[in-house]
């Protein structure tokens, strides 16, 4: 296990509360199941110096699937797309998920007729208000100990919470963040927390040589891509200070790589290769009906197999992954 620096913060969050707290580069945020366990935790986070960059479960799901695990990373949103946290520890009994978004008061009004029920949107909003952020700045949560799945029709399902007392998840901050762990407010009427809302504990550990070494590796391998855009790259970079949208008549979009300049290529296939192309089409293995489309699909798929970087093999069709 990675060695951390000394603990600098230790706090119990009673139901249904949360806390916004800076967690700096190289520090580890530990979130712990208190009481008997089985408490769902919602988590938001922001770049401490630019609140417009924030944790993004969609980006994270695209890279690591619906249920990230120990060893995976948590990303910020496009076009930043940086690793924000590395998941250093996560027990098997913690299901982390990226499907449930965050519960809100309207959900409970719609589903169960509540005038007002505790909910993650409002708890997160109250916590980040300490930093002058608004309810609109709350974003979809990275949910810990939330036992969702997907049924055969593609709909989200919710099972009992599998967390045990003492379980903990360790998140290593890759840059300075405002981190916001909260006690999910849904679990007294849903199975998210097994019908009893409980406290959670969180702790922050200072950087150590080992955590900083991991940060440096991630900065080098993941956070130094030319397309991870910074505010200085934005054509429109000023944050709108009013709410109404008005058209800027002088604005002209500059879509990337437009026009795409398709060029014809004449490919000679021998009889055996052409039969193979027809077989691929007959079996429906690749998209395309015409010879041109099937051939292009095969060529591009081969390119993906050759070019996909380690850890990002999801771009290759599953049947062709080793």
């Amino acid at each position: 296990m990675t060695a951390y620096g000394p603990m600098r913060h230790d706090e119990v969050l009673p139901p249904v509360t949360g806390r916004a707290l800076p967690v700096y580069r190289g520090e580890v945020l530990r979130i712990i199941q208190e009481e008997e366990g089985g408490q769902c935790v919602d988590f938001n986070a922001f770049n401490l110096y630019d609140y417009k960059e924030r944790l993004d479960v969609g980006r994270t799901r695209a890279y690591h699937g619906m249920f990230p695990k120990k060893g995976d990373n948590i990303y910020t949103q496009s076009p930043r797309d940086r690793v924000m946290f590395a998941i250093l520890e996560m027990p098997e009994t913690c299901k982390a998920e990226t499907l449930g978004a965050r519960c809100n008061a309207t959900l409970f009004e719609r589903t169960l007729g509540f005038d007002l029920h505790t909910n993650c949107q409002d708890t997160l909003a109250e916590a980040i208000g300490e930093y002058d952020l608004t309810p609109d700045d709350v974003h979809d949560s990275f949910n810990l100990w939330m036992n969702t799945d997907v049924d055969s029709s593609g709909r989200m399902t919710l099972g009992p919470n599998t967390g045990r007392q003492g379980d903990y998840v360790d998140l290593l901050a890759i840059f300075d963040t405002l981190s916001v762990p909260i006690v999910c407010g849904s679990g007294d009427v849903f199975t998210t927390s097994n019908f009893r809302l409980k406290s959670i504990r969180f702790q922050v550990f200072e950087p150590s040589e080992e955590t900083l070494a991991i940060v440096e590796r991630i900065e080098r391998d993941f956070n130094s891509r030319r397309n991870q855009r910074k505010v200085s790259d934005f054509r429109v970079s000023r944050i709108k200070a009013d709410r109404e949208l008005r058209r800027n008549e002088s604005y002209e979009p500059r879509f990337p790589n437009f026009p795409l300049d398709p060029r014809p290529v004449l490919v000679e296939l021998d009889d055996e290769e052409y039969e193979q192309l027809e077989e691929i089409r007959a079996l429906g293995l690749l998209p395309g009906r015409t010879d041109a489309d099937v051939l292009r699909s095969a060529v591009m798929t081969a390119c993906l197999m050759e070019a996909a970087e380690k850890g990002f093999e999801f771009v290759i069709p599953a049947a062709l992954r080793e």
Binding site: V265, L269, E273, I280, L285, A302, L304, E306
Partner: protein, 51 residues
């Protein structure tokens, strides 16, 4: 022998360039495309047997 006319846009040609560089292929995109097609078939046949 059969000639299939397909097309690649500028981004797709970048991937062809990667393949060209990796395998020391010539400048003709058609040659690279045929090489890639063969690579796909080679990978696809074992996958088909699994099915």
């Amino acid at each position: 022998m059969k000639t299939v006319e397909t097309e690649f846009n500028r981004q797709q040609r970048q991937l062809l360039d990667k393949l060209r560089a990796k395998h020391g292929l010539g400048p003709d995109d058609a040659e690279v495309a045929r090489f890639a097609f063969r690579r796909y078939v080679k990978a696809f046949l074992p996958a088909k047997e699994k099915v």
